[in-house]
Amino acid sequence: MPVPQAKLDALAARIAGLDLARGGWAGAARAEALARLGAMGLPAKRDEYWRYTDPAALIAPQAPHAATFAAADEPPVFDGIERLRIVFVDGVFDPALSDDLRLAGVEIELLSRAGQTDIHWAREVYGVLEARGQAPVQRPLAALNTAFADEGVLIRATGRAARPVALIYLHRSETSDAILHHCIKVEAGAELTVLESGPAAARFNKVMEVDVAAGGRFHHIRAQGRDHGRRAATHLFARLGAESLLKSFTLTANGVLTRNEVVIELLGDDGVAHIAGAAVGDGAFHHDDTVFITHAGLRCESRQVFKKVLMNGAVGVFQGKILVKPGAQKTDGYQISQSLLLDGDSQFLAKPELEIHADDVKCSHGSTSGAIDEVALFYLRARGVPEAAAKSLLVMAFLAETITEIGDEAIAADIRLRLQNWLERHGR
């Protein structure tokens, strides 16, 4: 089918001001991504995969204006966690704010510096997992990222990383438009935790490709930044080997528009992938989780746990799919998406999908929307807990199943505190 002219026009307008970084080992991958992109065009509102989220602000030639925001009322997230910090300001690496990139058990290089050196493992990841994730659903913003990203980190874990690697995204310019592309390789039996935090820019396009070899373990926890006006389109592409594990948790509080896509392939046998998200929005907040998990190996387990707390016209979207390929017997797939609507103005749109081509599998999915449980609220108040605190307790209870997916208790406690503070600020 030919690509509609409008999509091609949108693409031409979007990339007119961007430079394709040529040469080096990634040059071919970028050129291929550009070709992929040309065959797709940019997403449009009428696309099936963009039914609930208008991509206009994400594809516009210029990033819409977004005020910066300095939270004076609480220290930055993960501040108390011992970690290696890699800081980007409006998408530009800041060496002065970053730690030395040496860490036992891990090799770290910047994408911008890696261009001329041949980092052979990155060749097998950069743009490769993104390209695999383009079927059966097109993800043009990810292809655009692969083609034009000139910064990001390449992280290879060869053992057990001594500390988490923290990617910190600061937002200082009200018109910044950042593109970052990270590649992560967790070698056989290695273990790595990556933290991400901050708004990054007025508009942020980020791709993270994660290749987990047999027996590798990858933990990912991110908090997307409290700036109200920021917009973000992020993609996590992951490929999992035998007996490997990937756990990813995302906290989203505020942000006028967020689209988080996660594409996981369980290729080896006995792999485990858990994807969780807690989103809280008040007013101008549109949050979209779009997840695609493919089971190709035997006895793999996947969990998708997404919860959203919405008020004053906030909108939550969930599109989640589990695809069980022929032969992926003993698959254990679980998917739940729920929203807690704190008033009558907010909206939750969910599209859960299962596609199963094997006969001995266990897959379940559920999606609900509800209000605060008035009976439980009265019970708490009857025990002396003031209404606002009681509501906050019930909201935290609603979100608890997502936070349980964070393995590290100190990190989980930090996330819990952020949520409690947010609820307090927003009168719940």
Binding site: R381, A382, G384, L394, A397, E401
Partner: protein, 251 residues
């Protein structure tokens, strides 16, 4: 301590009068029991006193040590010393029992201008009181009432009462769903809290609970009013003959 005068209450959703002039006076240090047939308004009385939504007071007053209960939010009534042990304790998935207890205890202390209990002190007190009710560490760790048996839920209500140390305790059919042993545990828990500064209002269908928690006064409630009051013997009379004779006499 608890004074109720001419209390009239309507169920908002159905525009239906439930309480039609309740008069009740419970003095400090005493135990009053309310018995009565189904639908007589016993549970409504307990919910209205605790401040549940959905009821409209159309006439009358209810005070606790002279303070107007009906003007207070539910949490203010609790801080003022009122406690309702629920007929159907509520399950709250995701909220740990211990967190719940500690939040409640400290919220009430804060409302009364007292210092919060330290984590260590709280743990010590809760373990001691839970132990007496045979509530083990696992039940304290689990989410509030989730997966608890009927008996465990009722024991958990009494644990909350023991931790909050209210002055006016209302027990709404705390005996329903309890076996003989659980009834003894619950009763022992209640009796341990009896003292000169505290009063109890025990709502029950059966005289059996009153063998364990000896009341000073027994009231019979029917059609939204207290139709007869007497000593402990009144409960025995109900057990023997049912409500028919008493109601015929009262009406």
């Amino acid at each position: 301590m608890l004074e109720i005068q001419n209390l009239h209450v309507r169920l908002e959703a159905e525009d239906k009068p439930i309480l039609k002039g309740v008069d009740l006076n419970v003095a400090a240090g005493t135990v009053h029991a309310i018995m009565g047939p189904n639908g007589s308004g016993k549970s409504t009385l307990s919910y209205v006193l605790a401040g549940r939504d959905g009821y409209e007071v159309t006439d009358g007053t209810a005070t606790l040590d002279g303070a107007d209960l009906l003007a207070m939010e539910p949490e203010e009534r609790a801080a003022a010393g009122l406690f309702l042990a629920f007929q159907y304790p509520v399950e709250i998935p995701g909220v740990g029992n211990m967190t719940f207890l500690r939040t409640a205890v400290n919220a009430q202390r804060k409302a009364r201008g007292q210092e919060e209990m330290s984590a260590g002190e709280f743990l010590k007190v809760v373990r001691d009181r839970a132990g007496k009710l045979r509530i083990d560490a696992d039940m304290l760790k689990r989410a509030v009432n989730v997966g608890f048996s009927g008996g465990e839920k009722k024991r958990n209500e009494i644990l909350q009462m023991a931790m909050l140390e209210p002055k006016m305790c209302i027990l709404d059919e705390t005996d329903s769903g309890l076996d003989v042993d659980a009834m003894r545990l619950v009763s022992d828990g209640v009796n341990a809290l009896r003292d000169a500064g505290r009063a109890f209002l025990v709502i029950t269908h059966y005289q059996r609970l009153l063998d364990h928690i000896r009341p000073d006064v027994v009231h019979i409630m029917a059609d939204g009013r207290i139709v007869k009051s007497g000593g402990p013997d009144l409960a025995l009379e109900v057990e023997r003959n049912g409500y028919a004779d008493i109601l015929a006499e009262a009406l």
